[in-house]
Subunit: 529 residues, 2 copies
Amino acid sequence: MKKLKYWGWGHEGEMLHASQAKALLDNLADFGIVPSDNGKFPDLDAINLPRCRIAPPATLQDMFKSAAYERVLHSFGQSQPDSIRIYSCDFAHAPDLVAYPGNAIEVAEIQDWCGDAGIAVIPYGGGSSVVGGVTGDIGSGYNGTAIINMSRMKKVLEIDDVSRAARIQGGTRGPELEAQLKPSGLTLRHFPQSFEHSTFGGWVATRSGGHFATLYTHIDDLIENVTMVTPSGEISTRRLPGSGAGPSPDRFMMGSEGALGIITEGWARLQGRPVFKATAGFLFERFFDAAKAVRAVSQAGLYPANVRIVDGVELKINGAGDGSRSLMVVSFENSDHPVDAWMARADECCRDHGGIVDVEWRDNPGANLQGTVGDWREAFIRMPYNREFLTPLGIISDTFETAITWERFENFHDKIKEATELAIMEATGLKGAVSCRFSHSYPDGPAPYFAFHAQGRKGELLRQWREIKNAASQAVIEAGGTITHHHAIGRDHQEWYEKQRPELFGDILSEAKSRLDPRGIMNPGVIVR
Amino acid sequence: MKKLKYWGWGHEGEMLHASQAKALLDNLADFGIVPSDNGKFPDLDAINLPRCRIAPPATLQDMFKSAAYERVLHSFGQSQPDSIRIYSCDFAHAPDLVAYPGNAIEVAEIQDWCGDAGIAVIPYGGGSSVVGGVTGDIGSGYNGTAIINMSRMKKVLEIDDVSRAARIQGGTRGPELEAQLKPSGLTLRHFPQSFEHSTFGGWVATRSGGHFATLYTHIDDLIENVTMVTPSGEISTRRLPGSGAGPSPDRFMMGSEGALGIITEGWARLQGRPVFKATAGFLFERFFDAAKAVRAVSQAGLYPANVRIVDGVELKINGAGDGSRSLMVVSFENSDHPVDAWMARADECCRDHGGIVDVEWRDNPGANLQGTVGDWREAFIRMPYNREFLTPLGIISDTFETAITWERFENFHDKIKEATELAIMEATGLKGAVSCRFSHSYPDGPAPYFAFHAQGRKGELLRQWREIKNAASQAVIEAGGTITHHHAIGRDHQEWYEKQRPELFGDILSEAKSRLDPRGIMNPGVIVR
């Protein structure tokens, strides 16, 4: 059994290779960003955990763990401030206990006990939140904090190969899900970057964005029904391919981020495994021309699986180009028929907007591994490991993502980029690097995904990060974007989410919370506070 | 100015041609359904309207009308029971007043006055509800009833041809909308059967289903944002191509059917006008084989604009075939590129499942007007005029629609059909005709659309209809379907909707109603009661 790291992404022993680490530093150095520290994550023994304040009743005892490793592992998600606090050995908000329920009844039993005892409950899927969604900063109003780790509920309970759908337990991680689907020849093909360490229930709770850059972008679009266990009881909707019966109850549970209850299971739509695939890569002199090509493809009714662009800065930092040009990747996949007609038209759209072929798609089954496309793909896969390498070196590295309509995009991009660059300068006194790509695209606008890197100062990383993050968030909200396209709200976006959300809808959410979670124990501070 | 009929569909002077009417009766006679009455709609003078109980304050007076024609016209929608009550001269629930606000402020002013005065408000778009959504049966708890007719708010306020979207006022009817979009070369292409007499705001409020049989089936999928005026204030969401920021506020307003507020405007996604089109027609010996072909096309990732099947009974009643075979229509359309590759694959799927060509698509631009496809199309267009012809003849004629996953479909179909046939026999003592088609289709299931015809007895039509409708609704709910795929809830589906809806979600809706409409004046009895 591989052990999960408490200081970063994945299992012990998994990390950037030395050559990858060196390349990353070299690339950052080209932007003037160099290490300012040489930290190390704290040994388990060295972590000063607060005393465990609570003890479960005998009837529930078997479900709970309270060993130091468990409490430390569940103290944080995968955000930049999480990482900074881990490396600063700040575990003041560690949970008291970690519960591992095996079914929906046990979830309800834990909620009941926590409600009676005034204990906050933080639902925990894969722990991959990059927005503080599982971080235990919940104030002083509780007698303790219990994590509900859903990892025992990891089964695909039914597969319907006629309708192509499966009933999936909330705690099922990406690889566990696909392994169980495999014999059926069907697949969910929902691959968020966190795929390995995120769960079906977590995807639904956070409206995660997946593999598909168009059409079925969010898990929302793949859901037939949802079952959620709340402190007031279970909500379970009908399994339907479509409905128009009143406001959608599924769409109200999706995005509730554990603040109303825990997604214990749901039916999701599957597809045949792709048999026909094609990938093309294009380089553009100007990022905005690449964006125009994305717009053309998105408005053509082609629905590519992938249509993503990456600007020069992002490519250079990730070792996929010299920074002078932007990359566009277009892919089609299908289980039913060849995709040549689709790809041929997308190819035309890209060339029409000045795209120069980086990787040709015709008769080229390995296209996705070649050229700049392949370099970027490799960087993308190892990206989750960057943070645990950079944080101890005093380098701040974070991303944020949004969505905006096409007619506002260019101005929006420049404003966000400038605001973030300015904030880095103000917070650190040094220039940073701010880059942009598109994670998803719609006929009416893209989902721009920004990354920033900055050289921080030892002991001040958290403050510096917060200043940059706040400035970026403020810019996104002021310029009309959404505070998140698929990273969710968590605790880090709550302030900006409240600015974005219509006030009366905030009231509705508060009253829904009062009805479903009358003692306010569920993921306090998230969505409703 | 053409005058709208108060007894049926459309304007005065519009109706079935004599030859169409005769053909319809001949076709029904083949099922043993013949006229049992020879009624006539009541003259305006003959209608005994209840006394108008309320008078608007002087400041609002100009917005209100109270002439008999206005009150009669707004007494009902377009449902079968509405029609029966019109022809029975039952106007006991006529509204006292009809308001025509010109902007969102006036909508709020009317709501304020009605709230203060204890007057129920029924929002009225095109009045096309087939489920009692605008019918004033609201009990005795109010001092009066005011209709808010949105027809003065009929402007397209902005067109964004870069993102392909438009800001549209809630009262804009289908033809008014498309006429205003036309100069831009863009179109919403949302064509519910009620297109001529339904409004953008009504579509959003009822989650209407449109032209597209796959993918963008509901208006929900075309909406960037919604502005709703509630008695507690306005809710307006950000205009975004996509978002993952908490539970969707748009999806909470969609389907609220006037029970929370009135949709005054919203941004909707447009498309280029289709340049490339292809339509094919196939006949199948067995309806379930046609359904399998629909499933194959729906699961192939082709996203046809149309993929609909119609069973033999439905075809025969509508003069499009002898009843021995089922029809399948498949269409593709695109503004950007030829659709041959798409159509060719769909064609294969149809033939694979036993489809015999009715209308060939290759090199055939007029395909949609030919053969059984053309006959069905013509019948479909005139269908809204059938009811005002049949009701006075004592023939009950209604439809209901639902959705179900593929693996349950055949059994579901048989159960619903049997339950409805049995109910017709029990309610009327005679055999009726129950037919089925698909209005929309998803990768995981179809939206079956049932129609029934039955010979009623004079003076008992309403009771007979209700017995049949209740049995059909009960069968749909028991067999796992949704009480509506796109006709909405209204007053006629409320009882079944409450069985379908998770109880705790019903509580959430009630509390939302208390927050947004604390005096409970908005469309009482619909969604929340």
